[in-house]
């Protein structure tokens, strides 16, 4: 059994699943459009939550938010199931497939057999689509992969019932009740409004303030926690910013692509200009990543090097502040 489902590779798994599922259901929405409507652009620094011995930095909202925000703003409903029983989880999946309904699944990355070893971490908020079954094999459309692939029933069960933070518990979801007409303009406005509200939020560790706060910490880290740990923290920041799924530059390029698309729909040329500005900011982030990687490659011990990189990050924070203030004006 195979559903006629179109696989489109995307930068980020959640955007990709949402976009591909909506396309299947007759609603053509691109990945950047999904990302922008869901206010995907973000920054947060959480010093007290340690991931892999380093504080948490995130350039995106909590997993799951993208789909729920898009559904709210475009006016469709999502059906979600979670399971205690593995048998039940498979039964529901099979039942949906037999109704010709491709479904999204939340899975753990560690046991995904088609991922290279270096990428196998216990990260449980990955998303993919199942669009059919061939004997004992499920047909898988993983949005970050170029092509479709398969997983055996046993392999799929393992990733659906991965354990640890964000444990998926067999989480399966699909859109229902799609409206005949959607108000894209309204959805875009809402997405942009929430994006600048979050990026300009009066919270020290969120948005542009969060970026500047991290810059300040970088100046202190070498003395406070030592060069080795500082480099590890910077490595973590670069990985969160550039790793597979971000589309590059901490999601900033996807957001710029969204603004370009939105500019046409909204008939607002200012958004196209702002798209170019966001591209420049994305390039600044890339520049920062290069400098950071040089730092821990050369194991530089001069504190001045850390001040220089902190200057760069601070400049990004200020650029994002100016950008989101302009965006606020542009959407009024």
């Amino acid at each position: 059994m195979k559903i006629n489902f179109e696989h489109n590779q995307s930068a980020h798994c959640e955007n990709g699943v949402v976009s591909n599922l909506l396309n299947y259901n007759g609603l053509q929405v691109s990945e950047p459009m999904v990302f922008g409507i869901a206010s995907g652009v973000f920054f947060i620094y959480i010093p007290f939550v340690k991931v892999n011995f380093a504080p948490m930095f995130s350039f995106r909202p909590v997993p799951g938010f993208i789909f729920s925000r898009v559904s709210k703003r475009l006016g469709f409903k999502i059906k979600r199931h979670k399971f205690k029983s593995k048998e039940k989880a498979q039964q529901v999946l099979d039942a949906e497939l037999s109704k010709n309904n491709p479904v999204g699944l939340q899975v753990g990355v560690y046991n995904l057999t088609y991922f290279p070893d270096e990428y196998r971490f216990h990260f449980n908020a990955h998303n993919l689509v199942v669009y059919g079954k061939d004997g004992d094999n499920y047909l898988i459309s993983d949005p970050v992969m170029q092509d479709v692939t398969t997983l055996s029933a046993k392999e799929l069960e393992k990733v659906r019932f991965a354990k640890g933070p964000f444990a998926p518990n067999g989480h399966i979801y699909y859109p229902t009740e799609l409206p005949n007409q959607i108000d894209l303009k309204k959805a875009i406005t809402k997405g942009i409004k929430q994006a600048y509200r979050h990026m300009l939020a009066p919270v020290p560790v969120v948005g542009y303030r969060g970026i500047r706060y991290v810059a300040k910490r970088i100046r202190k880290w070498p003395d406070k926690i030592g060069v080795k740990k500082t480099n590890h923290y910077l490595g973590q920041l670069v990985r969160m910013q550039e790793e597979i799924g971000t589309g590059g530059g901490g999601f900033r390029f996807i957001f710029a692509a969204f603004l370009q698309e939105a500019s046409v729909i909204m008939e607002n040329p200012r958004l196209a200009e702002l798209s170019e500005e966001m591209t420049a900011i994305g390039d600044q982030w890339r520049d920062f990543a290069i400098d950071a990687s040089r730092l821990y490659k050369n194991r530089s011990r001069e504190t001045d090097a850390y001040n220089k990189i902190a200057d760069k990050l601070d400049a990004i924070g200020l650029a994002e502040k100016a950008f989101f203030l302009d965006l606020k004006k542009a959407i009024k």
């Binding site: 590779q9 995307s10 930068a11 950047p32 892999n52 011995f53 560690y110 991922f115 290279p116 070893d117 270096e118 990428y119 196998r120 971490f121 216990h122 970050v144 992969m145 170029q146 354990k163 640890g164 933070p165 444990a167 480099n231 590890h232 490595g235 973590q236 670069v238 990985r239 550039e242 790793e243 597979i244 799924g245 589309g247 590059g248 530059g249 390029f253 996807i254 710029a256 692509a257 370009q260 698309e261 798209s275 170019e276 591209t279 994305g282 390039d283 890339r286 990543a289 290069i290 950071a292 990687s293 821990y296 490659k297």
Partner: protein, 133 residues
Amino acid sequence: MKKEEVPQDESSLSKANIKEVVYAVDKDGKYGKALSSGWEAKTIALNESLDLIEEQLQETIQKIKEGELSPIAFYMESQRMDVVVLSGYVGIWQWRVKRHLKAKIFKKLGEKTLKKYAEAFEISLEELKNPKI
């Protein structure tokens, strides 16, 4: 980022024949998807993190040989788990898992508990008791 600037460096992804999508602008400034085989800057960041995991594992192996930590610590770390993740897989409270990482406590564990760990790590009881380290 311009399309012609999209990095095509060697990476663990390119070794597995995978390319990832990034967003970049073409000559006319129009956005679209582009494929990247990898980027040196982030490969360095990833390797730095993997080196740290390996370093940590070597320290743990040393501590097991010195009789301080139990083999559970070795299997946990070599499968990139931490106490929170392992606790989920074995269905044992985190504070108990933490205790089981100590060699002294590990020696007193019953067959039933050991079996849970062996299953979570997908190894035999024999391998759990005598890790090849």
